[in-house]
């Protein structure tokens, strides 16, 4: 084996080893890397919520937004479960019913007390006219739970 060949194999094996190590670390840290939990994960108690700040993510349920002064009540759903959220403060521009949202806060007595609400944008980009014609023709695919 020439020195060049040896260096080539060394680099390939090194990359494989590093790739495997990274994959193992990342899959072990899964719970910490995910940015938010779904309503189902929280309600089925798959994640510890007691006294911890967590993030809850999903879609704002249609017709669930109620504003009382500075207080906003809404429900976050993932299709299977929906969790009531209460929040006091300014909502981002993209916050609307049927849109993705990520809230940060604590669980309290069946209600998620959010201290921060972030809007989540989806991967669809289109002009207004296209969105409207899609809705009209019934081919609309956005704003639905995955």
């Amino acid at each position: 084996m020439t020195r060049k060949k040896r260096r080539l194999y060394f680099v390939i094996l090194g990359l494989l080893a590093i790739g495997t190590a990274a994959a193992l670390v990342l899959s072990a840290l899964r719970q910490d890397i995910v940015f938010f939990f779904s309503p189902s994960e929280i309600m089925e108690a798959k994640v510890p919520t007691e006294g911890r700040r967590i993030r809850l993510g999903g879609l704002v349920e249609q017709g669930s937004v109620v504003k009382q002064g500075a207080l906003v009540h809404f429900k976050v759903t993932d299709g299977a479960h929906s969790l009531p959220v209460v929040f006091e403060g300014l909502l981002p521009d993209l916050f609307r019913e049927g849109q993705g949202v990520v809230t940060e806060g604590r669980m309290g007595d069946g209600v998620f007390m959010a201290s921060e609400v972030l809007a989540k944008h989806d991967e669809n980009y289109m002009p207004k006219e296209v969105a409207e014609s899609l809705k009209k023709s019934g081919h609309w695919q956005g704003e639905q739970p995955k």
Partner: protein, 244 residues
């Protein structure tokens, strides 16, 4: 592949490519800017802020493409000891770092009005920040040794180790849930971007790539000239030492 490692041949080919790179970069950047700012529609959700994407997304691609290229050049330098490959890896690093920085800044500017925050530590944003630090580390390491060859070797190894981050960036939005939206252009089932918005995006991506090719040629040529100068100086010093 090995025949391209010859600096003289590189200079000949580079001289042919250079005017094309200049032309394509200027034309596509001009057209891309015009389409991104004037001749494309506002988004149905984001309104005019969607125009940030025409800088942000091609910059992110550049960050990843330049890093991959840098890693490939570094591997060629480490394995086959092609000096030209090392020079090209060095020439690519600042371009990739600059575009990664632009990507982070424009993303932040978009995030504040759309998400409601400048920054979050989700998988996509964090892995992109790591990419930026990898570039900085590469550049610092490459210049950290008195012996340029040792610096190049250390930096090359860092580039190769860091390449594991590139697929993590690409699929971070699929492997974990993130605040960042999933892929829109390169994904299963075709792009989720309207054709009218695809035009400026592609034009800008072409412009950025052509710019990189141009900078790569200019910087590599500079590095070749610098290497020649070093050799000449060494020969001079050597000759002076012998006559004394």
């Amino acid at each position: 592949m090995h025949r391209f490692a010859n600096p003289a041949r590189f200079l000949r080919i580079a001289a042919i490519i250079q005017p094309w790179a200049v032309g394509i970069a200027i034309l596509s950047f001009g057209a891309g800017l015009w389409f991104s700012l004037f001749a494309s529609p506002a988004d149905y959700q984001q309104g005019e802020s969607v125009r940030i994407m025409y800088i942000h997304v091609p910059s992110a691609w550049m960050g990843m493409v330049c890093y991959t290229a840098m890693a490939v050049f570094s591997a060629m330098g480490l394995i086959w000891k092609h000096p030209l490959a090392d020079l090209m890896a060095r020439a690519t690093a600042p371009v990739g770092a600059a575009f990664t920085f632009i990507c982070l800044i424009t993303g932040s500017l978009w995030g504040k009005p759309m998400w409601g925050t400048w920054w979050v530590w989700d998988a996509r944003l964090t892995s992109m920040l790591i990419l930026f630090f990898l570039y900085l580390g590469y550049m610092a390491l490459a210049d950290a040794f008195d012996d340029a060859e040792r610096g190049q070797k250390a930096a090359g190894i860092l580039a190769l180790v860091g390449v594991v981050n590139v697929p993590i960036i690409k699929w971070s939005v699929d492997w974990w849930n993130t605040l960042h939206q999933p892929a829109s252009v390169v994904k299963m089932g075709g792009p989720a971007i309207d054709a009218s918005m695809m035009v400026p995006l592609i034009l800008m991506a072409v412009a950025f790539k052509a710019y990189w090719v141009l900078v790569l040629i200019l910087r590599t040529r500079g590095e070749i000239a610098a290497a020649k100068l070093r050799t000449l100086r060494m020969a001079q010093v050597h000759a002076a030492g012998q006559t004394e």
